[in-house]
């Protein structure tokens, strides 16, 4: 199946500084892609290029086989949800949602039905007559989503749609957005700087850094096998061992065969460790020994910090059995699956 959207070596600079630098990827129909990256990584710019709100310096976008370059934003039939929602303050909720329908030459009845359907889709059935400034943050977010979905866009672009909400609301709405998008079978590109949000919403995650595409994979693959140290660091992983400085044998016994000649960077995922001597560990799991410098009970896990040589390694251990006290030595079995060899940075 040919992809619905093809992004081909797209670049954009501001005042000689590249913001989007030669990005290529493809998107299937019905897929939700998440552009994930720290601020300044070019993700919003890429989204605005896609929308046609800005022009690329080079490269092209093919949508359904057609080059988008000459099509102005209002004729692309894309939807976009803005960071601060950009709801029209002089229109009420229903009028906001109806705005995108007016060019479709539908009868007033049909428009009305569609507006009602959208309102119930986002759970705001009774709110049609409300003014925008009477809505809470979460309600505005829903109206914005309903408004962008109403004209059945061929591609929906979402720019940090949960960015201005508080943590609790964010977690709840992230899952809700995914189920709404899936129920409408929308193809979507979603921009965020929050990995938890990306994991909750996306089919595919593209990690952007300094205008470049670092990795594009399923959420699970991104988490299990981050490609570079930058991706790993961005995902919050802290156990990065530079094997050109430390030999892996300084850490692991027995040394996993694959690491004998390894001299790149090695990631130890924090949840891959178990206290030695448990039946849950595999037989051939390498062992790591260190001194506990910090121990924090966090509810579902123990957060443990261990000094090995001159490094501090962080682990998340199951709460049973409870680890020894600070200052004592601990032996950990490490799941070889949690050892990730990282690629060199380009």
């Amino acid at each position: 199946m040919t992809p619905l959207l093809q992004v081909d070596k797209v670049s954009r600079s501001y005042n000689e500084t590249p913001v989007v630098a030669g990005i290529s990827f493809a998107l299937k129909e019905g897929e939700i892609l998440c552009l994930l990256g720290p601020s300044g990584s070019g993700k919003t710019t890429l989204l605005r290029l896609l929308a046609g709100l800005e022009q690329a310096d080079s490269g092209r976008f093919l949508f359904d086989g057609r080059d988008l370059a000459t099509i102005p934003p209002h004729k692309r039939h894309f939807g976009m949800m803005f960071q601060e929602y950009a709801l029209f303050p002089h229109k009420n909720v229903a009028e906001n949602i109806r705005f995108g329908l007016e060019r479709m030459k539908w009868s007033a009845d049909r428009q009305q039905q569609r507006v009602q359907k959208m309102l119930s889709l986002v759970g705001l059935e009774e709110m049609g007559e409300r003014r925008i400034d009477e809505l809470s943050g979460g309600e505005r977010q829903r109206v914005a989503l309903a408004r962008s979905l109403a004209p059945q866009p061929r591609l929906l672009l979402l720019d940090e749609p949960l960015g201005s909400l508080d943590r609790v609301l964010r977690d709840r709405l992230a899952g809700e957005i995914r189920s709404i998008l899936k129920s409408q079978q929308v193809t979507a590109v979603f921009v965020t700087h929050d990995q938890a949000e990306a994991f909750a919403v996306a089919d595919t995650i593209a990690i952007l850094r300094q205008g470049r595409l670092e990795q594009i994979d399923s959420p699970e693959t991104i988490y299990r096998r981050p490609k570079t140290a930058a991706v790993a660091a961005f995902l919050g992983f802290r156990n990065l061992i530079d094997c050109s400085r430390h030999h892996p044998a300084d850490f692991f016994y027995p040394l996993p065969p694959g690491l004998k000649r390894y001299s790149g960077r090695l990631l130890i995922r924090p949840e891959g460790a178990r206290i030695s001597g448990q039946s849950t560990s595999g037989i051939d799991w390498p062992q790591l020994t260190g001194k506990i410098t910090k121990k924090q009970f966090q509810g579902q896990i123990y957060g443990l910090e261990i000094a090995v040589h001159d490094m501090q390694l962080h682990f998340a251990l199951p709460i049973d059995p409870a680890p020894p006290e600070i200052g004592e030595t601990i032996n950990l079995d490490i799941n070889p699956q949690a050892l990730v060899e990282l690629e060199e940075e380009k």
Binding site: L53, P73, H74, K75, F78, M80, F82, E84, F88, F99
Partner: protein, 556 residues
């Protein structure tokens, strides 16, 4: 106890401004009212009846309205494209444009009127040039004493107002709103009519109403450029009071003027309440685009060029004309200002008007700051119920025309119990009354912007209430205070309407002196009016230049 004390202190703040308002605003106003309805001590509404049954007066009212409406419409048509460009583009010379837009705020009406005569009048620069070029016998452009002449001056005055109010608001509109509409399939045209225009409406409405109010009470410009053929209500009040000495009729006209103004100001207050509008601070947007296409460049050049010509040409003409005698360049008009002629209009060398004006302006500045500061401090007190009411009350003088005020002064304050006619104080009081609402407008926003937490933090760190005032409040409002001071100074320097009534012959102010020169025939009188206008323009611009310097110096 403490709360009670604070309450009393709060009211003390209001005492001085209230006393001032009662004596020098409400008292004269009441007198106008009684002069209209009780001219001989018994009730009569003959004044109103005469007004509404005399075609001449109704014509004046009608003329006042439609010239104001036409001025408003013309200004909007001309200035809205300018506002768009100013709000959205960055281009070389934009700093200069910003400075240009302050000119009308700074320029007294008398100077503007004189400047337009210097440019386009029968003996003006353009006519002289055309006559010389094409060897014509008479001036080809006849604008003197025509409607077009003062409409042009009204556009000059209000162009910058639209640019500031609408432009500032436009720049503050989130571009995402238009982009969102565009993403929902709206064509650029539909985006403008359905999104941009409705959102701009409060700003446009507010600007339009302000222009209407300004033009409705237009006095100096109509008097000087329109000539005897045209009279707005304001001019008619002046004529009835000064030339015909028909005080009851002048009072009736004043009353109608006041009512109309109150209605318009009320409308404006309601409009600007809904939209967060500011007069003097334009909300700057960071994302200005440079001109990209040729079309952009053309648009910007055409609009800004037009604005430059509109705002600068009259002033240039004024300066040139002030040095241009029958036989070429001459400083004669300036020199004449410093000598006392035998057939002079004045009892003193005309140049003394300069010092009179500066003296009055400094005194006005001091008094207006004092009253403005205490009134603003009262209104800005936290959790003050009825603040809006007091605010409105204190702003009332803004809604009253200067001519009405001046008229009220001469019928009340020239005899006991308050005989101030010969003290010169009258001028200062009149100017202060006009200026101090502006001072309040300058101060209030920054006073309100000081977070209460700052004062509380200072108090917890051991600062006494007085220390808090001196070390927290005062530094934070210093910029606004300077702004208010300069505005008060400039308003006093240029005040014309009230001054025509209250200045004494031997101590004229600059605008009054200019008007006297203009109303006499003869090349020397005309030239001296030009020279004096240049001086007045220089003094006010100097004040604003200093303000700009002080404020930017404080920023570093």
């Amino acid at each position: 106890m403490i709360v009670q004390q604070q309450k009393t202190k709060g009211w003390l703040l209001l005492a001085a401004p209230l006393l001032f308002l009662s004596l020098f605003y409400f008292y004269p106003l009441l007198k106008i009212f009684s002069l209209s309805f009780f001219p001989d001590g018994s009730w009569t509404n003959s004044g109103l009846v005469r007004f509404f049954s005399t075609p001449t007066y109704l014509r004046i009212l009608w003329f006042t309205c439609w010239q104001a409406a036409l001025s408003t419409l013309l200004t909007l048509i001309v200035a809205l494209p300018g506002a768009y460009i100013y709000a959205h583009y960055s281009f070389p010379g934009k700093g200069l444009v910003r400075v240009l837009t302050t000119i009308p705020f700074v320029l007294p009406t008398v100077v503007t009127a004189t400047a337009f005569r210097a440019l386009l009048g029968d003996g003006g620069l353009v006519n002289t040039l055309l006559m010389n070029l094409f060897h014509l016998q008479g001036p080809p452009i006849h604008l003197n004493q025509s409607i077009a002449f003062f409409l042009l001056a009204h556009v000059f005055y209000n162009y910058a107002l639209v640019m500031r109010i609408v432009g500032g608001y436009w720049a503050g509109l989130a571009p995402e709103l238009q982009q969102a509409a565009s993403m929902l399939g709206a064509s650029p045209c539909r985006v403008f009519t359905k999104i941009t225009l409705p959102l701009l409406m409060p700003a446009i409405g507010s600007a339009a109403l302000l222009i209407f109010i300004f033009c409705f009470t237009s006095f100096g410009v109509v008097l000087i450029l329109g000539g005897p053929k045209f009279a707005t209500l304001e001019v008619e009040i002046y004529r009835q009071a000064i030339h015909l000495f028909n005080l009851p009729m002048a009072a009736t006209l004043s009353l109608i003027q006041i009512l109309m103004n109150f209605f318009l100001m009320w409308l404006h207050a309601r409009l600007s309440q809904r939209a967060d509008l500011s007069w003097f601070e334009g909300g700057g947007s960071e994302k200005l685009k440079p001109a990209r296409t040729r079309w952009d460049v053309f648009w910007i050049t055409a609009n800004m060029g037009f604005m430059g010509i509109l705002l600068l040409a009259p002033l240039l003409a004024l300066v040139i004309r002030s040095f241009l005698g029958d036989h070429g360049w001459t400083p004669a008009y300036y020199l004449a200002l410093f000598t006392q002629q035998t057939d002079s209009l004045f009892f003193v060398p005309p140049a003394s008007a300069i010092f009179n004006s500066i003296g009055f302006a400094l005194a006005t500045m001091g008094l207006a700051l004092l009253l403005g500061l205490s009134a603003a401090a009262f209104i800005a007190l936290p959790k003050k119920t009825g603040a809006a009411l007091w605010d409105a009350l204190i702003m009332l003088p803004l809604a009253t025309s200067a001519v009405t005020l001046g008229f009220g002064y001469i019928i009340t304050l020239n005899k006991p119990p308050l005989n101030l006619r010969n003290s010169g104080l009258l001028v200062i009081f009149a100017h202060t009354l006009v200026a101090f609402p502006f001072v309040i407008r300058c101060l209030l926003p920054s006073l309100r912007r000081i977070p209460t937490a700052l004062r509380e933090a200072a108090a917890l760190l051991g600062a006494s209430p007085l220390q808090i005032k001196l070390s927290i409040d005062l530094p934070l409002i210093s910029k606004a205070l300077m702004g208010g001071a300069v505005f008060a100074f400039a308003i006093s320097m240029g005040e014309f309407g009230a001054s025509t009534f209250v200045t004494r012959p031997q101590t004229p102010t600059l605008p009054v002196a200019i008007f006297r020169f203009l109303s006499r025939p003869g090349e020397l009188n005309y030239g001296q009016a030009m020279a004096m206008s240049v001086i007045l323009m220089l003094v006010t611009s100097l004040a604003f230049f200093l303000l700009e310097k002080l404020q930017t110096a404080g920023r570093r």
